[in-house]
Every structure is written in C-alpha cells, then in structure tokens.
Amino acid sequence: MYIVIGNSPKKILLKDLNDCIYYKQQKAFTDAQYQHSSELRQAITRGFVIVVRRTEDKSASFNISSNDVIPEIKDVEIGPSKIDQLLERIKELEVNLGRQNQKAKETDSTILSTILKRLDNLEKKESTVDISVIKEALGNIEKKIQESKAQENKNDILVEKIQKIINTSIKEKTKEVIPKKKDNVITEERYIPNIRVEDAKSHINLQVRKIDSGDNVADSIKRLKELRSKSK
C-alpha cells in the first residue's frame, strides 16, 4: 500500500486509474494499482506526488500500536483442595479401621481361645453331640475366619486404590494475573493541527429559514425541564 500526498498546486490526473490527486490531498493506492499506473509512477518520479509511507496491503484496517502492557499470567494452587480433604478423611478412616481390625484380631484370638477351651472340656467329657455336628460347627467357624481375613484384604485393596488416585490426581489450580509496572508506558497524544485561514476570502450564502410557533421546540424544551426536575 502506497500512502501518497499531492505536491503540486495543479491537480495531478491519473487517467489510467480514473483518479486524480489534489494539492496536499492524501490518498492510498494498493501495490497492484501502483504497478499498473505509469502516470502515478511518473508523478512520483517528478516530485508532483510524494510517497509518505509504504505499508502492507490491507483493507480497512488500522495498524495501531498498543501501549497496553500484557501482564504475566501464572498458575496458582488454590486450597485446601477437595482431594486433600478426602485424603485426610481416608487417613482417619484407616486409623479407625486399624483400631477395628486390632479389636477384631483381639476378638478373634479371644474367640479362638474360648473355643479351644471348650474343645478341651469336650475332649475330657463324654459328649452327647454327634461328631458331624461338631465338624459342621468348626467348618462354619473356619469360614467366618476366612471371610474376616478376606475383608481385611478388601480394605487393603481399597486403600491402595484410593492412594493411587491421590498420587495421580491433579491439584486444583487457578490463574492469577500478576500486574506489571507501567513505568515505561507512554500515552500517545493525538496531534490536532492548527490550520490558518486568514488569507482566505469567503463569499458564503447560507440558506436561512425561521421556524415560528408551529414548531414543537418550545414544547420539547418545557417537557425536558420537567423530566429533569422529576429525576432530581
């Protein structure tokens, strides 16, 4: 894109572009237009048109440099996370389970010793109970002991699984913006040119009309005052 300005008091005709450039008029031409127009290139060579700047060909877009400072964003852990709370609870349960298991073990040993004592007594005394019944009872006791052991294993498996989850879990995070100092930021001031027109002689005929009472300007003014006083 060629941004040019007219540098000749006379209008520069660009017939091959069906265009013209006036004195101090700024215009933009694409690279394709510049390549196509020998008259434009000639005018630039002769100094009748000056190239102000060259940019990349874009359509209707502004290249406005931003003075905004992009802040650093980092991940920050928030907590205590829910996983941590779960872990604590599990530990408590483990401790309770451990105590229960301890009790269970103690209970088991107590039960066994009681059973053994009875068995001793039974051995010493003649029993009227059938041997098959005794065998069945012992078999049931054995089953219950086996079940109790299996339950202990299940608990261990469960604890293992939960531990695995905790170890592989992603901690909860959030993003925090760390503001950067704006010491080096310069706010761009907008240049508004001073334009002199003292040398110009003007002969202007304005179209003037007067609007009388038929118009509703007076009524609008009155109602606006009422609305403003109501809102105060």
Binding site: A200, I204, A218, R223, L227, R228
Partner: protein, 336 residues
Amino acid sequence: MSFGLDIGTSFLVSATKDPKNDDSPVEVKSIRDAFLDVDADQSIINMLKMSNFSYIQEEDNIYIIGEPALSIANLLKREVRRPLSQGVISSGEYDAEKMLIILLKDILKKPSYENEPVFFSIPAESIDKDMDVVYHEAIFKKIIESFGYRAVSMNEAAAIVYSNCASNGFTALASSAGAGMVNTALVYQTMVGMAFSVSRSGDYIDRSAAKAVGSTATRIMSIKERGVNLLDPSEGNPKQMREREAIIVYYRNLIHYVIDTVKKEFKKEENKIELPDEIPWIISGGTAKAKNFLEFFKREFEKERNNFPIGISEIRMANDPLGDVAKGLLIAALND
C-alpha cells in the same frame, strides 16, 4: 444565543434561538457540505459574483461551495470534493479542514458571551468500518472553541429523540440516515442505551447504483434528489428508468441492513436495557427524504417485525428530516 450544530457528510446545519425569549423563533441555517476547485480566473470570479454563488478565494485557488459545486461538477463530469467522508473528517485532507473552518466561522459568527454553548453532533462508532471518531470529535471541538465557544459533543441519533419525542417521554429508537452513514440510537428518557452507526447510507446508494448502470455517483445523487418514487420507479423521465430502479434496489438493501444491525446490536445489550412494551421508531436524515420512503420502510419492516427484538408502536418520519438533528442539539444546549 445557544447553538445546535449538525455536522453532516452532506450538509452543515445550525439551529439557534434566544434563550431569554421563549417566543423567539428558531433560526435554521444550512449549506451543502461540498466544494469544487476551479482555476482562479477573473472571468470565473465575475461569473460567480453575478450568479451569487458561494465561493472561497485563497491565493490562486477558487473553491465553489455548496449546491453550485454540485451543478458545475455535473456539467464538467467531475466528482465534488467533500470535507467529510462517511460521517467523519478524514485526517490529512488539509483543504477539507480549511473549508470546514471557513464554513463554520460563517455559520457561528462570534459568540455573544464567553463560553456560549455549542452542542455539535458526532456519529456513534461504526460497527462495519474502521473510522476515527476520536479525531473527528477532537478537531471540531478545537475549531469551535477557537471561535470562543464552549463545545459539547452529542450523539446524532439521540438528538432526534430530543426534537421529536417529547410526547413519548424522550424514549424512542431513532435513525438518522445521512449521506455517509446511518446513525441509530436507542434512548430511554434522554439516556442512550445503545448507539451505533453503519457505513452505508446515501453515498452507498449513489455509488452502488452508479456502478450498476455505468454512471457517476454525482449524477445518481442528482436524479435521486430530483425525486425518485420508491413505490413506483416508472414515475419520472423515462430515459432515467434504469437509474431509478437501481436506486430502489439499493434503498431496499440499506433498510434491511439497518434492521438486521439493530437486531444484532440489541441482542448484545438486551440484558442491560429495560424498555416500555413498545416504543416509536423515528427516521430522519436526507436519505430518508425520498418520495414514499416512510411507506417503503414500513413495508420492508413488516417482513421482519415478528423477529424484531424491540416492540415498535409506530414508525414515523422526523418533523424536519434535515433540521431535526440541529434542533435536538439546540434543545439539549438550552437545557444545559
């Protein structure tokens, strides 16, 4: 005196009234915002003086101003130059800025007292084109304050609500269809809830129709302003039928574009705006002066009424499509 100043792509319009006298009339001054440079020749100067044409002479340059610039440009098959393009001043157009200063000086004259207020119009940000409203506002503020006035900017479409909707509690949807753009604002009791502009308007119709029929935009503008009946393209010079048909096609295109844009923009703001059930839609601006524009607009709107997000009680034209922006600004200035 307080001033309302409508700075448009096609016209500069001012409205003024003596604030101390309620019965004083409103004076509206206007001039077409166009100029044409011609060679400085004594015969041309004599011709301009005899014809009472407005012109500016600076060194070896003559600039014909206003309506005559258009007629002579047509005669010479040239395009007029405009100080404003698509609603805003273009930075770098030094001649254009000079023209504006001279014209505004002539319109405003010297202030009657210090800090006399001038409320001037600015467009809303465009949603479909990059445009420098900040520069536009800053340069006019500087120009007006250099004359000794206190300059206050105000949205152009909101000004129409001030001048046309006193009986509606200053609540309405308003669109000002000028030459360079259509400005739209949704106003609730003078507060602007939503405002935007689109870069299609009268000039877009002229350019598009000119391209379609192989003519110039200035010629199409003349045909349009001479009178095109939007409901009947056969009305008028039979030799210009094609031009009129093309103009109507692009008018229809423009209306639907504006309606669609209002729908999209309102969707972004609807959670923040509480409106009465139905509000009027006021249409203003030079582009809306075409014959049967209101009827044409209503017909096109009815096709989309069912999925239009704002309840519209009526669509009506501004009382004075060319002067109501300036009058609305004057009303705001008198209440300042």
